[in-house]
Amino acid sequence: MLAREFVLDLDAFEGPFDLLLSLVLRDELELVDIDLVEVVVAFVERLAERDEIDLEDCGEFLVLISSLLELKARGLFPDEADELAELEPEEAAEELARRLAEYRRMKAAAAWLTDRLAAEGDRFFRLGPAPLAPRPERKLAPQAPALLAEALRALAIPPKAVSLRHMELRFPPVSQFLDRFRSVLARRRRFDFDTEVAGLPRVDQAVAFLALLELRKAGEVELEQGAPFAPIRVSRLDLSLEDDAAATAPAAVAAQEGTTWTARSA
């Protein structure tokens, strides 16, 4: 499987993606040190080397990388969960665009610095004192001992929670939707994804979609879509149920083989 086996060469990690996952899950590797953009780029590069695109692979990768992104977002901004809900989708989109623009400018600035360093690499100058220079003596004016007490007291002030809500995106956990869909499927054999998530903010819808892919990967559901952008139908896969056997059987076989992508997305 490409999604798990492709090899990464990052600042903080070198090896197959699979190993990266298990190291992160075992807390042996800090997710905050991993540049996930690099992981995505590496995956897309591997993908481009192939003749045909394997939707199974892409789906699995999407689920894995989004879970990692979620974990990482929570790792970087631990105390924000409560504030997240306050951001309107409109504001969130605004903020995301602003941050992406800022990051792109910083990338460009770093590229400029790289070129500059290459151009200036043949400028040598002395670091440190000249061989025959006099040694300066640093003199310090009398200081008040109270400054020392103040410095230590300042270190004892607990940090205020920094408000990051202006730059956060609402990001509900995938598990929330896994639970929700499973309970819907316990009651009903089929449901319409678009109807189920109608009225939710877009980011929630996206996370709900990831949950759907997760269920599909686990073989719990079958997905069908008549045409691009048509409603996605979600059906429970369960052999023990006798009714509607004709419709269930082929899907169950597909789930056992674990290879066929049955969403007919043209």
Binding site: V32, D33, A109, G121, R123, A133, R202
Partner: protein, 200 residues
């Protein structure tokens, strides 16, 4: 009484001041500003500027092995570029070229956004900044600049060594950010297009 007393001593010629400036620059550990040169030479800034022209002419690239450069807000001597190979055999480069991408992005953020804490940098890059900042402090390219008012996090700024290594007269010589990378409105439009194409 015919001849008035000469009380005002004529200022020494600028050539003499130029020599004093050469002497100051060859022993200085860092680039010296016109003001610092004037204070040390006990002369005025305008004359120091004039004398610096003479020094620049004597120590020009292609003319001399020692070259005068305007860098990091002051003046300093360096080796001429055509002696780079010989210098490379004897000295380490101030910063080996192998600054990582992470290090360069971090330097860019601090240089452009002014004093920044490690969380500030992490927010822009999306990756924890602790080890890369520690490394840049160790290399002398970043330095502590006090603690932030709100969270008490340590803030960092770029050092004169950073400007020197990148050959910048000052941070103002960095290209304008507006001319670099993306514009928020344009990115926003693209995001909306992507969202729209997914259908509601």
């Amino acid at each position: 009484m015919d001849r008035p007393l000469r009380l005002v001593q004529a200022a020494p010629p600028v050539t003499q001041l130029a020599r004093v400036i050469e002497a100051l620059l060859v022993v200085a550990s860092q680039p010296l500003s016109v003001e610092e040169l004037a204070a040390a030479a006990a002369d005025d800034a305008a004359r120091v500027e004039e004398a610096l022209q003479l020094v620049a002419a004597r120590f020009a690239e292609g003319e001399s092995g020692i070259v005068l450069e305007h860098v990091a807000g002051g003046y300093a001597f360096r080796a001429s570029r055509d002696a780079a190979e010989a210098c490379g055999r004897l000295f380490e480069r101030p910063v080996e070229r192998g600054l990582s991408q992470a290090a360069l992005e971090t330097l860019a953020i601090v240089a452009y956004l002014g004093p920044c804490s490690r969380p500030d940098i992490a927010r822009v890059r999306g990756v924890a900044a602790d080890s890369v900042v520690a490394n840049l402090v160790e290399r002398g390219l970043l330095a502590e600049a006090g603690r932030s008012d709100d969270a008490g996090a340590i803030e960092y700024r770029t050092t004169p060594l950073f400007e020197r290594i990148f050959g910048l007269g000052s941070l103002a010589e960095l290209p304008r950010l507006d001319d670099l990378g993306g514009d928020a409105a344009e990115i926003r439009k693209r995001l909306e297009q992507i969202a729209a194409s997914r259908g509601a």
